[in-house]
Subunit: 351 residues, 2 copies
């Protein structure tokens, strides 16, 4: 029998909270029979929704608060005034062990700031990062950082590689995922100095066998490597560029399907095949950006998602908790520190 896991939900976060959060939890309940929910938020609004879903109600406990963080609140303000907010209390439940993970569709900046304060970074990790999964031609690719750090040095990037490795193992179930550093490959340029340094460090690290060197923007979706490591500025631009390009292509395609009577007939014939295609690139399927590098699991759902999308964000949290994501990071950090220590001790015995 699998041990039961408790996931804390910020029931008040997101554009259509609390309904979408409760819907999402109900879908996740079917998928993960070993999961209990700590529903953090306004009891008066949560209880009536739960009353209609007795199976969900059975595995849920409400932690009442009438405070919540608004979508446009500044992270600094949220930190100062939001100590009793549903977002903060969900994170605190992870910090003190009442839950294994927190999921919120609320304000990203506030969630990041609160998660750092409440969960703190794993010893050996200087800065947390945001990681997510993207579709690729070979399946799925993990990318990080997606926006937590505008500039990163070589050590940060090596730490991101460690976190990306643990994430790919826990969430995608990969054994020894391949890792690449995002760079530019034009002949006149060899990219940025910190990238060359990070590559040198990775070649000497416990991840050496998995590290495949530099990759370029097009390798994100070709699936050349399983984990793409970059700074948060570049990662955020790349992620949004990919989303925008997908929207453009779907838009142009929709125009094609409307362009003639034959194309309209074709559309009807294509519908089942297209729904498969749509499912493959459905943003809800890739919902759930994770703050990695903290002493606890915090997953950010898209604010505008629906129940299915929120359930997928819960799924990411459950996968991370069930597959020992944090232990994997701690193990790699220890291994890295051991290899980093080696040359020093070797030097110390030389007279």
């Amino acid at each position: 029998m699998t041990a039961r896991l408790t996931i804390a939900l910020d029931v008040m976060g997101g554009d259509r909270a609390p309904a979408v959060v409760i819907d999402g939890a109900n879908i996740a309940r079917e998928r993960f029979p070993n999961v209990d929910f700590l529903m953090v938020g306004d009891e008066q609004r949560i209880a009536p929704l739960l009353a209609r879903l007795p199976l969900l109600q059975k595995v849920s406990q409400i932690l009442h608060t009438d405070k919540s963080v608004s979508a446009d609140e500044k992270p600094s303000v949220a930190l100062r005034t939001g100590r009793q907010s549903s977002m903060r209390l969900a994170l605190d439940a992870v910090a003190d062990g009442r839950a294994v993970a927190a999921v919120s569709a609320g304000n990203t900046g506030a969630l990041m700031a609160m998660a750092k304060l409440s969960l703190r970074t794993v010893p050996g990790i200087d800065r947390p990062a945001i990681a997510s999964i993207l579709p690729s031609q070979r399946g799925e690719t993990v990318m990080l950082d997606l926006g937590a750090n505008v500039a990163c040095d070589a050590e940060n990037l090596v730490q991101f590689a460690i976190m990306g490795d643990a994430f790919a193992r826990a969430v995608l179930g990969l054994v020894n995922p391949s890792i690449g550093l995002l760079n530019i490959g034009s002949e006149e340029m060899k990219g940025r100095e910190e990238l060359r340094q990070a590559a040198a460090l990775l070649r000497e690290s416990p991840l050496a066998a998995q590290f495949k060197g530099f990759v370029e923007g097009n390798n994100l979706s070709s699936g050349t490597v399983d984990v793409v490591v970059t700074d948060g500025f570049t990662g955020n631009v790349a992620l949004k560029t990919a989303e925008g390009t997908a929207q453009l292509i779907v838009h142009l395609l929709r125009e094609s399907f409307k362009s003639s009577i034959w194309a309209r007939v074709a559309y009807l014939l294509m519908r089942p095949a297209l729904s498969q295609f749509r499912n493959r690139v459905d943003p809800r399927r890739y919902n759930g950006a994770v703050f990695v590098g903290l002493n606890g699991i915090a997953v950010k759902s898209h604010g505008g998602t629906d129940g299915l999308g929120f359930a997928n964000a819960i799924g990411v949290a459950v996968d991370m908790a069930m597959h020992g994501f944090l232990d994997k990071i701690r193990g790699q950090i220890a291994a890295l520190q051991a290899t980093a220590a080696e040359p020093v001790s070797a030097v110390s015995v030389v007279p």
Copy 2:
């Protein structure tokens, strides 16, 4: 009657040179009856190809050299040893006024290095950039820099905005194109310091009315602004991410069309509509990255393109030459220097 323009072609550059270059010139000849070609390369290989195309032969002159820059040659080596190469002689023809623009499908790094040396930067521009056109939902977007400069300061970015403005006017025929600075918009971040500085400078510049502030990765293809300005690292990653995403979607779509007998029938019905779609996102249509900021026009064609793609690269060169691209840049630089000078003189009259 329109004055005749001479375009210098590096006939030996590119994966399938010289055939593709000659094919491209022949297609361009039909489109631009006022263009003459200076065909730089091996006469023994060019002459027989031209002999089969009498109309092209009539508007072409061969500048013979048996030297060329190889695809994998280091820029520094090409600079030192390639003074008599077809690439360098084509650029030199622009430098001394025998041609208005040079087009090459050869080694990007070597072309950039040689173009800087041969053409030199426009006074007031510190660093040249690479610009290109991308498809968007609203038509087309100009983006720069695409890889010439891995890191840029605020002044560089302002100069890129000036060059992007001139490019959009000359090549897309836009009046007062809107301009955006590529940044990340997540709540916890306000992006990079140099971007905030560049935004402040642009708000005080002659481009103030056209400057729309920050844009994000998805705005590249939504067409929110006409010109997207960024550093060469971010621009290169974004461009390649967009290319990769488009390939992924087309790949998934092709799988959908194969997934059932009905989908195959649909594909047949869709073919005319899809060819329209394909044309809209055809990389050949967007072939021709331009080195902007130099005292002359140098256009880089994709090395693996075909005749149609090469003709489009020639088209970009012709548009820039015919619509006074260089004069537009020089005018804006002068206007910028005038506004930058103003506060100083204002201060000097205060006692």
